[in-house]
Amino acid sequence: MTTVDVAAGQAVAGRQAQFRSCPFTGLRVDLAAQKLIIANAVAAVIFLAVGGLFGLLVALTRWPAVHLLPAELFYLVLTGHGANVLLFWIIFFEIAVLYFASAVLLNSRLATPKLGWLAFILMVVGAVMANVAVLQGDSTVMFTSYPPMKAAPHFYLGLILFAVGALVGVGIFFATLVIAKEERTYEGSIPLVTFGALTAAIIAVYTIASGAIILIPTFLWSVGLIGTIDPLMYKVVWWGMGHASQQINVSAHVALWYAIAALTVGAQPLSEKVSRTAFFLYILFLQLASAHHLLVEPGISSEWKIFNTSYAMYLAVLGSMIHGLTVPGSIEAAQRRNGFTKGAFEWLRKAPWGNPAFAGMFLSLVMFGFIGGISGVVLGTEQINLLMHNTLYVPGHFHGTVVAGTTLAFMAATYLVLPLIFQREVAFPRLAKIQPYLFGIGAAGISLFMMGAGTLGIPRRHWDMTLADASMPYEFSAAAFLMMGLNGVFAVLAALGGIIYIVVVVASALGGKKVDASRPAWQFPVTSAAGANVAKYGSHGTVKLPGTIILVGVFFVAFMLYYYVNWKYLSAVWPLR
């Protein structure tokens, strides 16, 4: 009886999926999933191009010697920059990652590709609608759109449609996990990368729900159906979306670190248990981060601020610090198995730095930790936030996480997606080789110099740091002007890296050589000396990891010093209570 039911159910619900076999990995790739992954990745890159251009215009305007755009256009472009890169580029790419981590890695068919296309269309329509609203000029409200400042209704509606589309995509990911399990397309537990993607998806549900809870009433307010939106309540809920969505990024890019490390050097987790627990900590605690944006707000108690801003005693930070050890640790272990055993760092020196996937991944790892991570904890300290709130330190911090961290990791992953999913050789391999370095150094520069300018008091989202038009002028220090000039220089570097990325992706996707399965230019893992050794399970096979221990030691010392130096700065300002 049961057998019949299952069979009947499959006949009704199960679609006849068409698969191809991957010549590199032997995995079955559902062609419907492949098309959706390509569509979402392409959309992501298009919005990155638009948003990146806006970002360059912002940086050139804030470069005092250039001061490119007039004020009104500057604020408009800044609004568009935030929405296009922080939302559209990243979430389109994440949907592609979710489909990849479920259907492809689990050897399964994708659930309801038709709904997948509906989700895609909703997201495209929403993203275009929001862009139109911004470009029309009536919605220059910044990415955060704090009331009582009001945007045109279709700005909010565009974001809502985009979010609904993304939610459908997340639902398809969950459904694919269920199908893969039922149809037994894999043995045992889901891979670590899929587990990381699952973490991202769970946080995405929370995030999108927060977004709906606040954006739907705000939309109704913008068309006149609701009288007022409380500005403080708005921020509490909006940042439930705004910051939690960054935690989707963290989960997704950490999952990609593991994936790229596996595919390039044959890394395997030191222990599955530890890495998965670290992801699980994200699910439990990352949602509290809304508080990071409310530390100098009136009407919220210190107890609430301390508990939430620290993710309940820094338990989500703990998750990231664990990944900060296990990702380089797994690479070191793999490289030592590959034969690079001399000294503490031969494994790192002889890593495949010429492979843009590996180079981008490792730069992303280091910069996310040292720049984005440390500055985030310091910025998110209840009292220290007084010194930094809404200064350029804030965008400095999140360019360290979202640009140097997430975006660079996604770019790195693209160099694997091109041969594996697009089945194209990477075009202009020499340009591709330097791309992660150019973009990475640029991103590091803009992060650090904006942080520097922020500590000197320069406000974020501000057209004119000379304050020339103000009735009571105030002069910022010469050092601050220097910082903004350097920020401009490094933004140009990052933009060059971004342009190369887009040229390489477009050229590969449209005109790249078809991958020849019999003689592929790429091998997985790239450092193939590993061979049979890698098949062995991690914990027992791994050797000591002196290089990684030194790296995390340096990180830990830098973290402590920078943290307490900022307390010292704080102790020097006017007493207030």
Binding site: A71, Y75, P148, M149, G188, P191, L192, P231, L232, Y258, A262, P269, S271, E272, K273, V274, P298, G299, I300, S302, I306, S310, M313, Y314, L315, V317, L318, M321, I322, G329, T381, E382, L386, L387, H389, N390, T391, L456, G457, P459, R461, H462, W463, L467, A470, S471, M472, P473, S477, S539, K544, V552, F556, F559, W567, L570, W574, P575, L576, R577
Partner: protein, 183 residues
């Protein structure tokens, strides 16, 4: 590998690498230390933002600020027409943010404490006191009351660091801190 299911089905029972265990414990303890530092600063530190805040209508706040400015006005700031207000030490002082100015200008005595009432009468603004770089978010409808003690004399600029429309970069204000008058 990370892209394939765990090689051992009972991965939960795998032993943990020693270096992972040590690092996890260390990171956990560091988290506790940072958590404790924030609490400790409320006891020993001198810079803790006040939790005192009230709901207030923008009209009422404006009326109070205007009454305060009228009562203690000593002169006008340059040619701006903005009153410079010098309240007695320990007094309640008011400052409002609006499109696009911080109003009025305050003149405070070094080493004295004042109860500063902050609010906005239109959109959100960012009270950013320079060059000491103290930054506080200001909401319409919420009155935030903090006790400040200027500890150095001089001129302090206030800029706005919450985007508030096309005049955002023109929004400034000022606080003069002067030596205490001999009694």
């Amino acid at each position: 590998m990370a892209v394939t299911p765990p090689a051992q089905r009972n991965w939960w029972k795998e032993p943990i690498e020693r270096v992972e265990l040590i690092w996890t414990v260390l990171a956990f303890l560091w988290g506790i230390a940072m958590f404790a530092t924030m609490i400790l600063w409320h006891v020993v530190g001198k810079q803790n933002l006040a939790n005192e805040a009230y709901r207030i209508s923008p009209d009422v706040f404006m009326t109070r600020t205007e009454a305060f400015a009228k009562k203690y006005k000593v002169r006008e700031e340059g040619k701006t027409g903005v009153p410079v207000v010098r309240p007695p030490a320990g007094a309640d002082v008011y400052m409002l943010g609006r499109l696009w100015e911080w109003w009025p200008v305050l003149e405070l005595e070094k080493g004295q404490s004042y109860r500063l009432h902050l609010s906005s009468v239109d959109w959100q603004h960012g009270f950013s006191l320079q060059p000491i770089n103290v930054n506080i978010q200001v909401h319409p409808g919420y009155e935030h009351i903090l006790t400040i003690t200027p500890d150095q004399s001089g001129q302090y600029g206030i800029v706005c660091n919450e985007f508030c429309g096309i005049g955002h970069h023109q929004m400034t204000g000022k606080i003069h801190v002067v030596e205490r008058k001999p009694q």
